[in-house]
């Protein structure tokens, strides 16, 4: 394991504003994969919707920079260290090292199983900003593990709600061969069931030019033989899904991992001060802000909120306060963490990649306490058995 460290120190030179002699420092450590395959040049260039566009540190830094004034005023500061881990074991070791070094909070942009290993290795609060797997919110939930990126289920629910408003109720479901695709298709089916939509046909696809596999690979053959209102494609890889719109037998929209996609963020979102956030991000990082960047950014916002609510810490107090901390994510409403699974409740954006078409929860969907809880596993489902 190679441990890279840089420290981002904010808000100590503030005599005028604080009047306090000692500023408390909230130390956070970001753990990311070393040589992250998601950031290979060819993948980044394709910029598939829902895929990260660059390192998580980019969004975090923007948020901490934004928080400078608030931290100054509260007489507090946040330092961010980062560690890159080449394996699950290395991620676990990095987490333990950070805890030993006095970190108050860990942030992870790691695969689901690594994230869980990190959470199990420490007692600190862990903010998951990179893994969308529902397992981390359900059977593998942990009392000190929080999730800022929307789960797969939240995205599927957002899309299903949108299909309901359009009255596109008959669906052709196409599922890819990726490692996560079976699970993600099951998640899509759960959302489809929850909102009373109907799958008229379900097929597996494969990327191939082999004529012997044309039934699996040819978009025209895959989309023939059924009457549907929309095609829901599940494709973690992204290449097949991108090629599907306008290549269906019937003139029907594609949704899911291409066409219309439900995301935490899109740089073209125009409301609630979002353009300013996207612009600040683009200015600092020379690339558009993606959904993963938003999750990292909101992680930084959460650290700032925590450090300004309880300027003096200590770590134990921060850990306790975190679950109750709310944050302004520039999505029009104050965002809070769900008590039952640690997930940040949030509106999602439906985008075709060009712009933001609509938002979810959609108008008209009702919920007894908070309409944002129509996205993802709700409290009565009791999918996370751990008491918080």
């Amino acid at each position: 394991m190679r441990l890279r460290r840089f420290v981002f120190l904010l808000g100590l030179a503030t005599g005028l504003l604080t009047g306090t002699a000692y500023a408390a420092v909230l130390k956070a450590t970001l753990i990311t994969p070393q040589d992250d395959p998601r950031f290979e040049r060819s993948r980044l260039e394709r910029a598939y919707l829902g895929h990260p566009g660059g390192p998580a540190g980019d969004g975090l830094q923007v948020a901490l920079e934004e928080g400078r004034f608030e931290l100054d005023a509260a007489g507090s500061s946040v330092t961010l260290a980062s560690a890159a881990a080449g394996s699950l074991a290395a991620a676990r070791a990095a987490a333990q090292a950070a805890e030993k070094a006095g970190a108050a909070v860990l942030l992870t942009d790691l695969p689901a199983d690594w994230t869980l290993a990190v959470a199990d290795a420490v007692k600190l609060p862990v903010l998951n900003i990179g893994a969308a797997a529902d397992s981390l919110r359900q059977q593998d939930c942990r009392a000190h593990l929080f999730h800022l990126l929307p789960s797969e289920r939240m995205r599927a629910d957002a899309l299903a709600q949108t299909l309901v408003t359009r009255k596109w109720s008959k669906l052709l479901l196409l599922t890819g061969p990726g490692a996560d695709d079976q699970q993600r298709a099951a998640t899509a089916l759960a959302a489809i069931k929850r909102y009373g939509l109907q799958v008229v046909a379900s097929k597996a696809f494969k990327l191939s030019a082999d004529p012997r596999e044309r039934e699996l690979a040819n978009p025209l053959l895959l989309t023939a033989g059924a009457a549907y209102d929309a095609v829901w494609v599940v494709d973690s890889d992204g290449e097949f899904a991108r090629s599907l719109p306008y290549r269906t037998v019937l003139p029907r929209p594609v949704v899911g991992d291409a066409g219309l996609v439900a995301l935490a963020w899109h740089a073209q979102f125009e409301r609630f001060g979002a353009p300013q956030v996207s612009r600040r991000f683009a200015k600092s990082n020379k690339r558009p802000m993606t959904a993963n960047d938003w999750a990292a950014w909101v992680g930084g916002k959460l650290l700032v909120a925590l450090a300004t609510t309880l300027p003096k810490g200590p770590n134990a107090a921060w850990a306790q306060a975190l679950a109750k901390t709310t944050v302004d994510g520039s999505k029009g409403t104050t965002l809070s963490l769900r008590a039952w699974d640690g997930q940040l409740r949030q509106p999602l954006l439906l985008t075709d990649g060009q712009g933001v078409i609509s938002q979810a929860p959609v108008d008209g969907v009702l919920h007894p306490s908070n309409v944002l809880d129509t996205l993802g596993a709700d409290a009565p489902e009791k999918t996370c058995k751990i008491a918080r």
Partner: protein, 323 residues
């Protein structure tokens, strides 16, 4: 005897006139997507026309010599418009991404929030020169100058602070923690209180202008709306300081507030995302700009009732009444 009767009669008819007289004058509405102001005839409550202006017009205000000044976020200028002719007189550079501003009592200095750079800038209106600038928290929005011109208040949406700036030295004196996303401000009639709307807290923070502390918080509730849908932005207080009017954003209502009691007395249903509010001179009508339904709702203050909604430009922002 006869004379005093005549006076009484004259007074009486004057009062009658004032009570029944049709509103005179015009209202000007900025819109973020039209690069134009919409002009409303207050007598007929109909759109009279539009005036082309700079790009993405937002805050607008009258200068002491009764000219219209509108800040354009995408053009980085203010457009100075003569309402008599409907023509632009000249444009004044305001720095990067100007959003809201206030004017010095003599009308010579513009105090403006620069959204992207996180600054409050002091601009000389005559020369267009930037006199000074003060670094503030992210996405500064509301700008309000004390009546004596000595103290400037600027809200920062990102930092959740109200910055107190001494205008003489252009120094930041204090940061006051308000609620989440503080937006717009209004002074009480005696200037002792500053009311600040908190968009993401469904509240107004009431700040003492002597101690610069939050002395009270007024929470809004709307039957049938959840707290997170109550997003207050625009605010105005009557000249006598008795009532405040607060636009409640996505709750689609405007709240009438008894200032002394700090209590909501009425809620009036208006358009979508009620954004900014403006009273006419008689304080008989309240004009509410609705950002998401592209219209302005005219509210009868005495009856606490919406009279009419007038379609205006796309994403309307602010309104000024010229009577």
């Amino acid at each position: 005897m006869i004379r005093s009767n005549a006076v009484a009669w004259a007074l009486c008819s004057l009062a009658l006139l004032a009570g029944t007289a049709q509103a005179q004058g015009l209202a000007y509405v900025s819109s973020e997507k039209d690069d134009a102001l919409t002009v409303i005839d207050l007598a007929t409550l109909a759109v009279k026309g539009t005036i082309a202006t700079c790009k993405r017009g937002r805050h607008l205000q009258l200068t002491p010599d009764r000219k219209l000044l509108v800040a354009c976020t995408d053009s980085n200028v203010a457009d100075l418009i003569d309402p008599a002719s409907g023509k632009s007189l000249r444009r004044i550079p305001l720095g990067d991404e100007p959003e809201a501003f206030d004017l010095s009592p003599d009308g010579k200095t513009i105090y403006v929030s620069n959204e992207d750079t996180g600054e409050a800038s002091f601009i000389d209106l005559a020369s267009g020169k930037k006199l000074k600038s003060v670094k503030v928290g992210g996405e500064p929005e509301g700008v309000k100058l004390s009546a004596d011109g000595k103290t400037l208040y600027v809200t920062s949406e990102v930092a959740g602070l109200v910055h107190v700036i001494d205008t003489a030295s252009a120094k930041l004196v204090k940061n006051i923690k308000a609620g989440k996303r503080p937006r717009r401000m209004a002074f009480s009639a005696d200037g002792r209180e500053l009311w600040v709307t908190n968009e993401l807290d469904a509240s107004v923070s009431i700040i003492s202008t002597s101690s610069h502390e939050v002395v009270a918080t007024l929470k809004f509730e709307v039957k049938g709306a959840r707290a997170e849908d109550i997003t207050p932005v625009g605010i105005q207080i009557t000249r006598d300081g008795k009532r405040a009017f607060v636009a409640l954003g996505r709750a689609n209502h405007v709240a009438f507030v008894d200032v002394a009691a700090r209590k909501v007395t009425n809620l009036v249903l208006v358009g979508k995302r009620a954004w900014n509010v403006t009273l006419d001179k008689a304080e008989a009508r309240l004009y509410v700009v609705n950002g998401l339904s592209d219209d302005v709702t005219v509210v009868d203050v005495a009856g606490a009732k919406a009279l009419k909604s007038i379609p205006v430009g796309r994403v309307p922002y602010g309104l000024v009444v010229v009577e």
